[in-house]
Amino acid sequence: MSEQPDFSIRIDQNKFLPQGGHEVHAIVTVESAGAPVAATGTGTSAAEVIIIDTSGSMDYPRNKMTSAIKAAQAAVDTLRDGVNFAIVSGSSRATMVYPRAEELIPADAHTRAEAKAALSRLTATGGTAMGAWLTLAGRLFARHPDGIRHAILLTDGKNQHESPEQLDAAVAQAVGRFVCDCRGVGTDWEVAELRKVASALLGSLDMVASPEALEADFRAMTEAAMGKAVADVALRVWTPQYAKLRFVKQVLPSVEDLTGRRADVDERSGDYPLGAWGSESRDYHICVEVPAGEVGREMRAAWVKLMLGDQVVASGNVLAEWTDDEAQSTRINPKVAHYTGQAELAENIQVGLQARKDGDLDTATARLGRAVALAHQSGNEAIASLLGKVVDVDDPATGRVRLRKDVDKADEMSLDTRSTKTVRTRRGEG
């Protein structure tokens, strides 16, 4: 096992509650530093499965298939020596591309060359059944339960050759067995469907509008996976008797509600899986409901620990203290306010785009307008610019907008896909 990175936990909150107050909010920043450099070849053991959609539609236009092949080849080149890997092609069923046998093979100059050659012979035919693809990946990872387990799933279409229940069951089977970054290419795939997969498997979701951009994206994803130093990190949250943990959300780099992922540890603690970590920083928003206490009392509303297996590698306290000083209890922590806004931003975009599809133009205008105002206030330039392709903005400060009539499908999907991407507070505001 390689050296662990140094983990730290920081808590941002206003611990003061008014008399009778019982809702505690805090932003938990988890940071890791000093992870070993991936390129040394002696890092943590790692396994990588690349899943390429080879359904018939990948040939229309033909450059989708050729670009996907090039991208997968670039990813193979990025694998460091010794990483166990495989390439899977996905259509109505899942097929091994390389190696032929249903197993992972260690990367070296020879296997990389063979894998790239096998990729170049791929042809597009058949349908789309992502559940079957994930099930094969799960079987491949099963013999490598330790270390980093990462998959890339590329698709260009809807999951048409399986029922939603079949996909859900396959995703549920895969949870905790590997991390999966998902990518949609073209405009015929379903954002909500792929988001469900990426989210459950703790991976990122993105849209690659032009096939040519796939290569750089695949290389970046593989590099990021190679940069991970530890797998299976969990956030353990203790809450006191009679308290209720309202939610645990990842809020940076993207909004992800983890509340339902809890695995109970004991009566008062539960673990929330955070996946694999390299040198990075992520923020979480925790909300706890505690019984109201007397003025002057202080309690620990939550005890947050970062777990690496059974080992606590960092911890922090979320506190509550009751005061009759209104100046203290009414102050809102700027980070809590910021991320509450970012979560609201993501929700408004998703609801607004759905309303637009459903023909409810009033709701769409109101929601997307609110999103414009939130993106503007929080300095989320990337989202603001994507919103500008879907609505005409009259006044960004108040969110007065008009829906655009001729919206490019790719722009709309791109906004939907990236709606959950957040930014950190601008310096000087936090």
């Binding site: 809450t239 006191p240 008797q241 009679y242 308290a243 008062r268 505690v290 206490g293 003025v295 002057g296 009392r297 202080e298 309690m299 620990r300 509303a301 005890w303 306290n317 203290e321 005061t323 009759d324 000083d325 100046a327």
Partner: protein
Amino acid sequence: MSVQESCPWCGSEVFAGEAFCEACGRSLTEVPAAGHGPSPEAAPAAGACAECGSTAFSEDGYCERCGLLRPGDRDHVETEAGGAAGVTDRGLRHSRNEDAMALAAVGGGVAAVVCDGVSSSPLPQVASQTAADAGLAVLTERLGAGDDPEKATRAALAGAIEAVTALAGSPHDAPACTYVSAYAGPAGVTLGWVGDSRAYWLGREARRRLTTDDSWAAEMVAHGALTEAEARVHPNAHAIVAWLGADAGEVEPHVTTFVPEGPGTLLLCSDGLWNYYPEAADLAAVLPDADPLTAARHLVRLALDAGGRDNITVVVIPLTTQEHAQHE
């Protein structure tokens, strides 16, 4: 410097003549029952949680069942040394006592330090205790070595600043506190301070405040922008402009010596008392004619009765005519 002894309850170092241990707060005149060895864990408050009755507490003092912070060892502490006495109390509105004090008989007089942790800083209770302990240690050492009281007072302040600064992980994570020290010796009273903890002279004939606050309110009054009364009720009244801590920048400590004109009481206190009795005359009017410990307890009680909104610390140092007459 007094002979050092150790507390029979917790083993901490104590000074001869002290009635209570500064570390655990227990009486030094009582002897522990057999089998009760020195153990820092066995604080008097260690017992059941006031809220849920559980006896399991985590290392940092929170109940492992209901999360409530355990009452601290510093909630109410009384100290006596060299004929002076100090009382510090959590008050009624704060969850812990972030004030600290230290008191010792030294060089034919008495030295005392009072510190008030800055609530908005991390670990203010650690900052105040660290500053008080470090300040008193340097003060007694330098005075014992024969240093001039003003020089010793400056050295003590520097020592306290260094100790509190060393607590910080970074300038953004800097524990902070106020500081006021007094050495009442044969030649008079020497004071040193940073922040808004105060010293008063309550003499038979004259009474006055001896310190000026390093506070926003004091600056406004000094510039004539606000009257004393206006400044006191302003929302910024408690904002201090100088403190001990890694984020304090360049601190200019105040050091001054004062020769009492006759017998009286030297009083050191945190704002938990002077908020209710800001003027020297107010304090003189309620100071009982009693021994120092009784007097200090009485003043703390008055602050509690008035609302106890902040932590309260009072050190009472009586100065008699004879002492000074001898040396004049």
